[in-house]
Amino acid sequence: MADETTSAPNEPVNEYEREPVPERARLGFKSFIGQYAGEHTAGTELMIGPLFVASGVAAFDLVIGLLIGNLLAVLSWTFLTAPIATKARMTLYFQLEKICGRKLVTLYNLANGVMFCFLAGSMITVSATAVGVWFHFPMPGLNDLYPNSLGWVLAVLAVGTMVAVVAAYGYTFVARIANYAAPWMTLVFFAFGLVGLREFLNATGTTINSAGDFWHLCQTAIWKGGAPLPGQVKFTFWHVMFFSWFCNMAMHVGMSDLSVFRYAKKSWYGLATSSGMFLGHYFAWIAASILYALQLHRDAANTDVLPGPLAYNAAGVAGLICVIIAGWTTANPTIYRAGLAFQAIFPKSSRYKVTLITGLIVAAFGMFPAVAMKLLGFVALYGLILMPMGAVIFVDFYLIPKFGLTPYYAEKSGTSINWAAAIAWFATLGIATWLVQTGRTQIFFVSLPGWFIAAALYLVVSKLYQQKLSPRPATAASLAS
């Protein structure tokens, strides 16, 4: 998504990190379809689908919960993120800096970058499980937290280094690779599901003559419900719905994808995320869950969630290539986002170098399977931590002017920290942590009330706080935005 025409080959390109995206650099609908399909048909889908099964999910809860949750995610991108992105046309970080001030946004960028690193690390973890099938080194189990063999460490390092180098070359190159892989990868995931279904029919001796027969198989053999595996949280319909809605909460409600949709010509391009949510998340999670359910059906003691072996058993070498590429094409934009976050902390440093270093840190994180094996809880935590700032951006953009207050307050007042935003962020996280720790709600649900708490806090505290400082005249940059 960069303007490469003005840059030399292999040099960092101008990606409008501190200016609105000009009209000439804006992209069409198809670019976002390909990007989201590739990004959300990822290696981690091969973890999430099995973890649903490990959480004792039932057929109706999975199929309908995912349908509604993913629809809510698409609507969140379309009606929350994309409209602001196509009006302001700034990166998340630059927009936050104007609202929150340099110091607070630095802290946010650090938190954001670190969370992205953990997430990308889990994607590298997934890709490395495919390497393990080829080289036969011991791989982590469902409850492992630390690397368990030298082969595992070397595999993660090799995959991680490759991903880091590619991510550093810039968004356009990464998007092109993702576009190459996306259609093929989606079909391989479909193939996983179809092969898994046939294997289930063979293993159970079932004959399908009607939709009723098929649904009976789903309920009694694939997604049977009941107790979760040891160490896992029981997933109901509500868990599935909220998880699939908030799985990418940092990106839609949390506004991280302002950085992506600032390139969109129209705000309705947010609907392009449906390629990722339905071709990717919906079908990919279902397909992956079928493969893991089959593994448990054959050997209930084999609870390992290893995408490499799961894919290899279903589709051979093509399946392994899919796992590697799926992890890679998703880790790339995640590392890119982390690089943007860190570069916002060090704006004078080259994005190329920052992204490369970030990628190497990600590779180190990827050696630890803890995040990947606890991915459901981690993803919910990741959304929760970043979500309050999405509420701050939403309120600052739509409500603050309506209440006679000053938007982009930090920039206009010259303050380095907007305490209204800081209090909204920290107090929301404090309240959410208290709600979860005291057992009043689970982490999968707390982000919804959390968003309203953050929005209300930002508005109320801004009303009190902005009266204490006199805004400076608006700068040219703020007027341009």
Binding site: L27, G28, F29, K30, S31, R176, N179, Y180, P183, W184, L187, V188, F190, A191, L194, V195, L197, R198, K265, A315, G316, V317, A318, G319, I321, C322
Partner: protein
């Protein structure tokens, strides 16, 4: 050249999914599915860079 590559790419995509459908229908072995999927994968990645990735026209 691009058109030829594009046609081969579409055939490769078909070859990625069709074997799994045939396996579900019981008309192909799992080993054959794996072989066809690998061949299709190679074809896809060899041909797709020839035509995909041109500047977006919106």
């Amino acid at each position: 050249m691009k058109t030829v590559a594009q046609i081969i790419s579409w055939i490769a995509l078909l070859g990625t999914l069709a074997p799994a459908i045939a396996y579900l229908a019981g008309s192909l072995s799992l080993d054959a599915v794996k072989t066809w999927m690998l061949v299709s994968t190679i074809l896809w990645f060899v041909t797709v860079p020839i035509w995909m990735g041109r500047p977006d026209q919106g």
